[in-house]
C-alpha cells in the first residue's frame, strides 16, 4: 500500500513529539497513521467507540506522564464537546488531528453540517485550531501544534482539509 509522503512525515512528527498513545475512531484519511501506530512497538494504538473517549484517554495518559493524540474525522468533533472541559479545566495538553469532511467535493450531505461547524465548535470549546491545506505544510504544522499543546498545556486541533486528503469517492 503506497502512502503519500506527507502522511509518513506526520507520523514522524508525532514520534519526534514523544507521542506514545494514539486513540482513534477510524477515517480513511488517517489510515496510514493508524497502521503506522499499530506497527510501532513504542506506540499503543487504541480504537475507540466514540471520539470523546479519546479525550479522557489522553487526559489519563498525561496524568501518567505520557503523551497522546486523538485521530478523528470532523463528524466526531461534535461528540467531544463536553469532554473538552476535561483538558480545559485541568490545564492539560490535548492534541487532535481532524480529517475534514463536508467541504471540498463532498458527496454526502450528512457530512456537511458538522464539517461546517467544526472549526467554530472547537474554538468555542476552548481549543486552538490550525488548518492544513497543503501537503508541504502538514508535518510542520503538526510538529508546531504538538509543541504548543504539550509545552504550553493547551488543547490544539489540526484540521486536515478535505482538499488535502482528497474527497471520498463513492462509486454506484
Amino acid at each position: 500500500m503506497q502512502h503519500p509522503t506527507w502522511q509518513a512525515r506526520v507520523f514522524d512528527a508525532l514520534q519526534a513529539a514523544h507521542v506514545t498513545i494514539v486513540g482513534y475512531v477510524p477515517d480513511a484519511g488517517h489510515a496510514h497513521l493508524i497502521q503506522a501506530a499499530h506497527a510501532d512497538p513504542d506506540m499503543t494504538a487504541v480504537v475507540l467507540t466514540t471520539e470523546e473517549e479519546g479525550i479522557a484517554l489522553a487526559a489519563g495518559a498525561w496524568l501518567g506522564g505520557q503523551r497522546a493524540v486523538l485521530l478523528m474525522q470532523s463528524s466526531g468533533v461534535g461528540n467531544c464537546i463536553n469532554m473538552l472541559s476535561l483538558p480545559v479545566t485541568c490545564r492539560m495538553p490535548f492534541l487532535t488531528l481532524v480529517t475534514m469532511r463536508g467541504e471540498w467535493g463532498e458527496f454526502n450531505p450528512w457530512q456537511v453540517p458538522m464539517g461546517t461547524a467544526t472549526p467554530r465548535v472547537l474554538a468555542q470549546a476552548g481549543v486552538h485550531v490550525r488548518r492544513a491545506d497543503r501537503p508541504d505544510d502538514v508535518a510542520e504544522m503538526v510538529a508546531a501544534s504538538a509543541a504548543l499543546a504539550f509545552d504550553s498545556h493547551i488543547p490544539v486541533a489540526v484540521l486536515f482539509s478535505q482538499r488535502l486528503i482528497g474527497a471520498k469517492v463513492f462509486v454506484k
Binding site: T20, I21, T44, V46, V47, L48, T49, T50, E52, E53, G54, I55, A56, L57, A58, A59, G60, A61, W62, L63, G64, G65, Q66, A68, N82, M83, S85, L86, T89, C90, R91, M92
Partner: protein, 198 residues
C-alpha cells in the same frame, strides 16, 4: 420526592463500601467519577494519588485506561457510579479491546441518578452492567451484594483487570467536597508520580 423501588435496589451503605475499597490504599492510583463517588473517596482522606472528576461525565473509565497504559507498573482503580458508567458504556468495549492488566473498575450502583433527584437509571430498569462488561470482552467480572463480597473484591480490584458492580442503597449522604480545582489536582498527581516538566 422519592422514587419507587428500582428493579434491583441494593442494600449496602456506599460510604462503608468505599471505606473497604480504599482501606490501606498504599500507592494505588484512584480515579473517581463525578458525583457521589468523588465525595465518597474524598472524605476517606485526600491523597495525591486520587484524581477526582467533577465533570466530564462518562470519561472516568477511559481516563483510567490512559493512566493505566502510561503507568503499566502501577495499579489503577476507577470508582464511579452507574449513571457515569452508563454514559461511557462504549468505553467498556474500548478498554477490553485495548487490554490493560493493571486497570480495574468498581461501579457503586444505586440504580439511580443520585445527584439530580434519584431518577431511576437503566441499571434500575433493564440493564445489567456486569453482563455488558462481560459481553464487551472483560474476562473478570463480578457483582457484590453484601459486605463479605465487597471484602473479597478488595484484593482482586488491586490485582486483576476486574470489572465489579457493587449494589448500594439509594440513601443520600452528606456531601464532602474534595479539591475541585482540576489544574491543582492534575499537577499534584503528576508530581506525586515524579513527573517533572521542564
Amino acid at each position: 420526592m422519592s422514587q419507587p423501588p428500582a428493579r434491583n435496589d441494593g442494600t449496602l451503605d456506599r460510604r462503608e463500601v468505599a471505606a473497604v475499597l480504599m482501606r490501606d490504599p498504599g500507592d494505588l492510583l484512584v480515579v473517581t467519577g463525578l458525583g457521589a463517588a468523588t465525595y465518597d473517596v474524598g472524605m476517606l482522606g485526600d491523597r495525591e494519588q486520587n484524581f477526582y472528576l467533577w465533570g466530564a461525565m462518562g470519561g472516568a473509565a477511559m481516563l483510567g485506561l490512559g493512566l493505566a497504559l502510561a503507568q503499566p507498573k502501577r495499579r489503577v482503580l476507577v470508582i464511579t457510579g452507574d449513571g457515569e458508567m452508563l454514559m461511557g458504556m462504549g468505553s467498556l468495549a474500548s478498554i477490553a479491546a485495548a487490554g490493560a492488566p493493571n486497570l480495574a473498575i468498581a461501579v457503586l450502583d444505586n440504580a439511580r441518578f443520585g445527584e439530580t433527584g434519584s431518577q431511576h437509571s437503566h441499571t434500575g430498569l433493564t440493564t445489567d452492567l456486569e453482563s455488558v462488561a462481560a459481553a464487551c470482552g472483560w474476562t473478570a467480572t463480578a457483582t457484590a451484594r453484601d459486605m463479605a463480597a465487597v471484602e473479597a473484591l478488595r484484593p482482586r480490584l488491586r490485582a486483576e483487570p476486574l470489572f465489579a458492580v457493587i449494589r448500594i442503597n439509594a440513601d443520600e449522604k452528606p456531601r464532602f467536597i474534595p479539591p475541585r480545582d482540576g489544574a491543582y489536582v492534575t499537577e499534584r498527581f503528576r508530581r506525586g508520580l515524579g513527573i517533572v516538566e521542564n
